[in-house]
């Protein structure tokens, strides 16, 4: 007697892909590394929103964080560049093909130390890119030196105290032109996922600074980027709920004080305020909130700033809608009569 077993239907997203198709290679980072959680959030967010992975380009610099693009979105092209210079590579690639969805992953050393200049100029240009900073305050791959985001007074495993103030990458991004700025914690699954999805829907430069503890070199007492420090000092700004464009918005009507932001692609970010009044469209207030929380020793997480109106660098360049990289010869080589007329001018 034979029985036919029907396998359960495979779970797919709205473009018909399974979650496994959003995964990458096996991670080589340490067990418990915050970066691995962030990779998981990337996989979920891109899967949930049904982003076409063939159209995503991943970029990174050098460091533990910059290895992680190999561990997600294996069906996407990836470019692991040189230390601190991911913004330049990403900028060039997006100029070449403006239809790509760019996802950059960098660390605090990569972004705030060696790459600070390129980071700031990318912010200034508002390049359409998701820029994730996996921030652990320490150089992992070279075995535990301070980075420029290490807090004043925080210590290394050796006990050495940092006597320089940190760069706050969110404050820098806010001040100089990024259009979506958020801070999160690798241990906060729900918040990070909502921020990641908002970033996918956003048109412009997203900077997400994710506190992502380094379990090997910076998870001890005296570190301000440890799991336990975050547990005690994280100050969550809002409760976030992301509703993608392909879901019916009218189904859930949230209660309480909720701000609804419509994203460029028709998705909605619903921001329910918690204790404090915070307007995420007010850049000045966001900077003020960061200053205040720093003074209190808190780590403020949530959506700090969201501007859906500001033109991107691509708008300013007034480029054609198609990727310039693959325009046919007829559109990139002017005619013989053009050359002849230029020659005539020079006679």
């Amino acid at each position: 007697m034979s029985t036919t077993v029907t396998p359960p239907p495979k779970k797919v997203n709205h473009i018909g892909l399974e979650v496994v198709q959003y995964r990458g290679g096996k991670t080589t980072l340490c067990a418990g590394c915050g970066h691995n959680s962030i990779s998981e959030r990337v996989v979920e967010a891109f899967y949930d929103l049904g982003v076409n992975p063939y159209n995503v380009a991943k970029f990174s610099g050098i460091g533990c964080s910059s290895k992680s693009p190999a561990y997600f979105l294996g069906l996407s092209h990836g470019f692991n560049g040189v230390h601190g210079r991911m913004p330049a590579i990403a900028t060039g690639a997006i100029l070449a093909n403006r239809t790509l969805m760019g996802l950059g992953v960098s660390g605090d050393g990569d972004t705030a130390s060696i790459g600070l200049g390129q980071f700031m100029h990318m912010v200034r240009r508002n390049i359409p890119l998701i820029y994730i900073i996996e921030n652990n305050g320490v150089y992992g791959l070279t075995k535990g030196q301070f980075s420029a985001t290490a807090d004043l007074g925080s210590t290394l495993k050796t006990g050495l105290a940092n006597d320089l103030p940190p760069f706050d990458t969110c404050a820098l991004a806010l001040k100089w032109g990024a259009t979506f700025v958020a801070r999160s914690f690798s241990g906060d699954k729900k918040q990070l996922q909502a921020i990641m999805k908002t970033a996918i829907a956003h048109r412009g430069l997203t900077v997400i600074d994710v506190i992502s503890p380094c379990v090997t070199f910076n998870d001890h007492t005296g570190s301000t980027k440890s799991y336990s420090y975050m547990k005690d000092h994280e100050e969550v700004l809002q409760e976030l709920d992301f509703v993608p464009y392909f879901e019916d918005i009218s189904v859930e009507i949230p209660e309480g004080e909720v701000r609804d932001v419509q994203m460029h692609d028709g998705s909605h970010l619903r921001i329910r305020k918690l204790e404090r009044d915070f307007d995420p469209t007010d850049r000045f207030k966001a900077l003020q909130a960061l200053e205040e929380s720093e003074a209190k020793g808190e780590v403020l997480t949530g959506v700090l700033y969201l501007n859906t109106e500001k033109p991107t660098f691509l708008d300013l360049l007034h480029m054609v809608d198609e990727p310039v990289a693959t325009l046919p010869e007829s559109r990139v080589r002017p005619s013989k009569s053009v050359l002849d007329s230029v020659m005539e001018e020079l006679r």
Binding site: N52, P53, Y54, N55, V56, A57, F59, P69, A70, G74, L75, S76, H77, G78, F79, N80, G81, V82, R85, P87, A88, I89, A90, T91, G92, A93, I94, L95, A96, N97, T99, L100, G117, Q118, H121, L317, H318, M319, V320, D321, P323, V324, A325, T326, L327, E329, R331, V332, R333, P334, K336, V338, L339, D340, V342, M343, L346, R347
Partner: protein, 614 residues
């Protein structure tokens, strides 16, 4: 006391009964920022319009206004347009340098000078032509603040009168220079020019022993600087991503390109740009963006000079190892460090050939003229995509920033070649690909572009160790295989790099090897050696690197080969030492000049005579 001091007892040499026709050089000494560029360009152009081969070279300081600058115009009926050492006619407008400029002249030269400078007191063996510039400019330029700019035009009129340059041609050149929009400025300058001409005609009873006579050697030719010629090459090569950081002497390459692209590379229907041009924050970013663009399939480029090349070093290594096409223009200037930013040199050849850490080698193109700036630029873009690697177009300040007479550029015959790129249909057919596998035996793998809509389309690009499938590896065999393939690819390039131009002199024992702007001096020197010393010299002009078999054959055919370098350390010779066997190297001699001025033929000839013991 100056070593330039000459005895005042020397008297004026007897003037030749027949003036020298169409073979002289004029040097105009001014201060920069005084508007002399217009007067100099007009003067050069008017001689060009009369059909005489002419060149103009600007020797200027790294400064905006107030420092000495010299412009040399050479007219040569034989068509020599390299720099000439000797000055026949000096226009001395700069009080600061006038004394030294006059003392440097050869006996018999003519000096047109601002009367109050009293230069005639310095020497008695020169022809002096004092001109009261301030007195002449006042009536033709009522607005006092414009006089400083307009007074230079007076010397155009004086020179035109003394050399018999037709005033109609001066006027035509002036109108061309100012364009239709600035007709008023052109008229003002024309007034000054006429005042100079009239003054000279009335005042000077004896002329100069040089004159201009109409020829027909410039018909159909254009005047253009090498940077603008490279810019046109970029536009017609179909460049789509341009990134740059301003640096002398390369800035005007991209600035010219911006001008042309705005005019000719916007979609006629939408008005939108079919390109992106970005002024980056530094050279690290400009090369990074250009590589990002090349990786994503754009024809991308950046332009820089030596200091920028140094900064780009790390990224170029990534471009080499990850195999990304990009074209880099190096308009060389005098190094090391900041060096002499506004003087010319071939000082980056060795650095660039091996730029970056680890084992790296890069192809270079060596244009020597505006025509080649145009054609080789187009070739370089094809080459970069064909071989998936950074390609360097090496020019220098002399070629890039000076105005050159050139033939009109022919429209590119070959269609744009984009190299080995697989699209989704190819992947369907092939079932997949391995990014760094040498499928065709030429060392060049197939690539896909990000955005390829196919499950087998992606690969991971990295500057760390990788195998054929672009996977991370630290294995000894993977590393060696990959590096050997890259070496093989470089060898294959030598079959595709532009072939050198070889001129073999009959029975010549010696030969020259030179590249770029050394060409003008070397060609003229070959003539000097033959005509004045009965020495036959062959000549091979390199057009690119890697070296080709032609070079080895040329060396084999001669007893001694002089490798001409415009740098101190004989960099081209050094590169040949690295690539060639000792027996070949033993035949090589070095001929170097590195003073920052364009190389001149007499320097080459004298050095050959010295080394040949003649």
């Amino acid at each position: 006391m100056s070593t330039l001091e000459v005895s005042p007892a020397v008297s004026l040499p007897e003037q030749a009964s027949h003036p020298v026709v169409n073979d002289f050089s004029i040097q105009v000494a001014t201060v920069n920022g005084s508007g002399s560029q217009t007067a100099n360009t007009v003067l050069m152009r008017s001689i060009f319009q009369m059909g005489i081969p002419v060149s103009g070279k600007n020797m200027f300081p790294s400064n905006i206004a107030g420092l000495p600058t010299w412009f040399t115009i050479r007219a040569s009926k034989k068509g020599y347009i390299g720099r000439r050492k000797e000055v026949d006619i000096l226009v001395a407008m700069n009080a600061e340098t006038a004394r030294e400029d006059v003392l440097k002249l050869n006996s018999g030269a003519a000096v047109i000078y601002d009367e109050p400078l009293k230069l005639n007191e310095l020497r008695s063996d020169l022809h002096f032509f004092p001109v009261p510039f301030d007195k002449l400019v006042a009536p033709v330029c009522p607005e006092a603040k414009l006089r400083k700019l307009v007074r230079n035009m007076i010397y155009d009129g004086v020179v035109a009168q003394l050399l018999s340059i037709e005033m109609d041609e001066i006027y035509k050149a002036l109108v061309k220079q100012f364009g239709k929009k600035k007709a008023k400025a052109a008229e003002l300058n024309w007034g000054a020019c006429k005042a100079g001409h009239d003054f000279a005609a009335k005042t000077f009873t004896t002329g100069v022993p040089y004159r201009v006579e109409r020829m027909n050697a410039t018909a159909g030719k254009i005047i253009i600087d090498g940077n603008a010629a490279c810019a046109l090459g970029c536009m017609f090569a179909g460049v789509t991503v341009v990134t740059w950081y301003p640096i002398t002497p390369s800035s005007s390459l991209v600035e010219s390109l911006i001008g042309y692209m705005r005019r000719f590379r916007h979609d006629p229907e939408t008005g939108k740009a079919t390109y992106a041009i970005v002024q980056a924050e530094d050279e690290l970013a400009s090369i990074g963006m250009a590589l990002g663009g090349g990786w994503a399939g754009a024809r991308s480029m950046t332009a820089t000079a030596g200091p920028g090349i140094s900064l780009m070093s790390e990224f170029i290594g990534l471009g080499y190892y990850a195999e990304i096409p990009v074209v880099v223009f190096d308009v060389e200037r005098v190094g090391p460090s900041t060096g002499l930013p506004t003087r010319t040199q071939q000082g980056d050849v060795l650095t660039t050939a091996l730029l970056s850490h680890g084992d790296t080698k890069h192809p270079m193109f060596f244009p020597c003229s505006p025509e080649e700036c145009f054609s080789m630029t187009i070739e370089a873009f094809d080459f970069a995509e064909k071989f998936q690697t950074p390609v360097f177009v090496m020019t220098d300040l002399d070629l890039g920033m000076n105005n050159w007479m050139a033939d009109g550029f022919p429209y590119p015959e070959k269609p744009i070649a984009r190299g080995k790129v697989l699209d989704a249909a190819d992947l369907d057919r092939l079932g997949g690909f391995a990014r760094y596998k040498d499928v065709d035996g030429d060392g060049v793998g197939y690539r896909t572009l990000p955005g390829t809509n196919h499950p087998k389309g992606s690969y991971f690009t990295r500057g760390s160790g990788h195998n054929e499938k672009a996977q991370y590896t630290e294995r000894e065999d993977d590393y060696i295989n990959n590096m050997d393939r890259l070496a093989h690819k470089f060898e294959v390039m030598s079959k595709h790099i532009p072939e050198p131009l070889v001129t073999v002199a009959p029975n010549a024992k010696i030969g020259f090897v030179a590249f770029g702007t050394s060409d003008y001096a070397v060609r003229e020197s070959c003539d000097q050696l033959r005509e004045e010393y009965q020495i036959g010299a062959s000549y091979l002009r390199l057009k690119g690197y890697p070296f080709t078999q032609h070079l080895l054959d040329f060396i084999a055919q001669h007893d001694r080969v002089y490798v001409v370098d415009q740098n101190r350390d004989a960099q081209l010779l050094g590169l040949m030492r690295l690539d060639f066997e000792p027996a070949v190297v033993a035949k090589l001699r070095s001929l170097r000049y590195y003073g920052g001025l364009p190389l001149d033929a007499r320097t080459v000839t004298d050095e050959i005579l010295r080394q040949e013991g003649k």
